[in-house]
């Protein structure tokens, strides 16, 4: 546990200390606010639904950007050798890194809270939907982070890690979308719908927390974290 905490602190600090961390944060917040306010002014109504529905697309750029350095940078600098000669298990290092990215995502989401709070003053927003939306965003984000971590474990180039992470997230998001599903025979379509990252997000974001969706996200997270653990263990 102490080992995980040490890695967590180092990683989390590096987000808050690097200028890149702030740039990502600002870009994310500007885009999130813009998406929200656009709905507000154009349609002239407070729609949290459309705000949360755009979240997966925003994450598609934001999350690979915060995860790309996770292993690629350690490889590039050679510090991976320091990391893996400390008396820590590989899994402790991995979990510390994963949690730090999740915490950074959590902060980014927290900073969008003024939007719904403003909304609460202006109208009568659906609280259940907002809580569900944030929860869904957190689950989806965690799944993206584990995918991004996996992508970063494959290479020592942050750019490659970014592109790879975004592509895998995009592909896994896309397979469950309606316009893909209609092209498939129904039996396969239902499997794809379950595999797609997006469909599970929609139902949580609607405020419906189904254990199947939660289990789905936890499996995706576990699966990609496990893969990246295998890769960092084998690829020295």
């Amino acid at each position: 546990m102490k080992g995980v905490r040490a890695v967590f602190r180092k990683e989390f600090r590096s987000y808050l200390q690097s200028s890149m961390g702030y740039i990502y944060l600002v870009v994310f917040l500007v885009l999130a606010n813009w998406l929200f306010l656009r709905g507000f002014f154009i349609v002239n109504q407070l729609s949290f639904r459309s705000f949360f529905l755009l979240m997966p697309w925003l994450f598609l750029l934001f999350i690979p950007a915060i995860t790309m350095r996770i292993w690629a940078e350690e490889r590039k600098l050679g510090t991976i050798e320091i990391l893996f000669t400390l008396p820590l298990k590989e899994s402790q290092v991995l979990i510390g890194k994963f949690l730090a990215s999740l915490a950074f995502l959590g902060i980014s989401l927290l900073l969008t809270l003024p939007l719904p709070i403003t909304g609460a003053f202006l109208g009568s927003p659906d609280v259940g939907q907002i809580v569900g939306g944030y929860l869904g965003a957190l689950f989806l984000g965690a799944a993206y982070i584990s995918i991004g971590t996996f992508a970063s474990s494959l290479t020592d180039s942050q750019i490659v890690a970014f592109i790879l992470g975004a592509i895998i997230c995009f592909a896994l998001f896309l397979v469950g979308e309606n316009f893909v599903l209609v092209t498939l025979p129904p039996s396969i379509a239902s499997v794809f719908r379950y595999l797609g990252l997006g469909s599970h997000f929609d139902s949580i974001a609607r405020g419906v927390i189904d254990s199947r969706d939660v289990i789905y996200y936890l499996s995706v997270i576990w699966f990609f974290l496990y893969l990246s653990l295998r890769v960092v263990e084998d690829k020295r």
Partner: protein
């Protein structure tokens, strides 16, 4: 303290280690010597638990590295090759991270940090980002990191590479000092390093151990026979051409160049004393012979003999 049995490691087609075995007793300072690509770094990475060998095993402080990596890593302080560091961390933050990861906390962590900052001479730069430090100071940070948990065993992979001469002397002094109470393995391909610090030398070449022993033992073991050294001024190209045509010279090599002065190591054919002949040769061809002397095998030559012949 460290025992290595029949290590084999292959990277793709390259066999980096081909049956490496040696053992190191508690309290020794070992110079781990070999030319580029000999397998020093690979061996050290296996001992520290960073790499898994394809064959053989390493035992550190009684623990098999493959089975008890955490126990082994607790007992080793390691300075990897090229001293990798997190460039945007402050020195203090970096040491804190290493300390926490090694289970140090609170006042214990603080005392350890004070102690190693003192030893490594980095107390004045603790607030600076690592990336802004000079190379010498980075090396000290790397050393401080390796010493933080006061390990019994120190593994240092080319700790003086890239340092200026006075820094080299300092680091060597530090290593010697540390060697009083710790088991130290220092890899290098620079010979003076070995004679300056080590109690024993292990020489590796092409993934195999080719010799080990104290410096005197190795020098004594070396093939008898002398080398003649001669320093000339100017006319290097002519000189090299003429030297290769001499019948009393079996082989020669340019050892060093100092401005317009060239130092050659010359191997006579047979046991003959060729100093006079060489002098006459220089006079005859108008070469400016400045110095000439004989030397018996030094560690340098032992090393060259062991690592160049097939």
């Amino acid at each position: 303290m460290i025992e290595v049995n029949d290590l084999v490691k292959t990277y793709g087609q390259v066999r980096a280690l081909d049956g490496v075995s040696f053992s190191i007793r508690k309290g020794e300072i070992i110079g781990f010597l070999g030319p580029n690509g000999a397998g020093k770094t690979t061996t050290m990475r296996i001992i520290t638990g960073y790499l898994r060998p394809d064959g053989g095993n390493a035992v550190v402080a009684g623990y098999d590295v493959a089975s008890y990596p955490i126990e082994v890593k607790r007992r080793i302080g390691y300075l990897p090759e090229d001293n990798p560091l997190y460039m945007d961390m402050q020195v203090r933050e970096y040491l804190e991270f290493i300390g926490e990861a090694r289970g140090l906390e609170g006042s214990e962590l603080k005392e350890s940090m004070d102690r190693v900052s003192e030893i490594a001479g980095i107390s004045g730069v603790l607030k600076r980002p690592v990336g802004e430090l000079s190379r010498g100071y980075r090396q000290r940070v790397g050393l401080a990191q390796a010493l933080l948990h006061d390990p019994d065993i120190l593994i240092l992979d080319e700790p003086t590479s890239g340092l200026d001469p006075s820094q080299i002397v300092e680091i060597r002094g530090l290593i010697k000092e540390l060697g009083r109470e710790k088991t130290v393995v220092v890899s290098t391909h620079i010979l003076p390093e070995v004679s300056a610090t080590s109690s024993r030398v292990i020489i590796i070449n092409k993934g195999r151990i080719v010799a080990e022993g104290t410096i005197e033992e190795l020098e004594r073991k070396a093939e008898k026979g002398e080398t003649l050294y001669a320093v000339f001024r100017d006319g290097r190209a002519d000189l090299e051409r003429e030297l290769s045509s001499l019948d009393f010279v079996e082989d020669f090599q340019l050892v060093s160049v100092d401005g317009d002065e060239f130092k050659f190591a010359i191997k006579p054919r047979g046991d003959e004393d060729i100093r006079e002949k060489l002098f006459d040769f220089a006079v005859e061809h108008n070469f400016k012979l400045l110095e000439i002397w004989r030397e018996r095998a030094t560690l340098e030559e032992v090393f060259l003999q062991l690592t160049t012949e097939e």
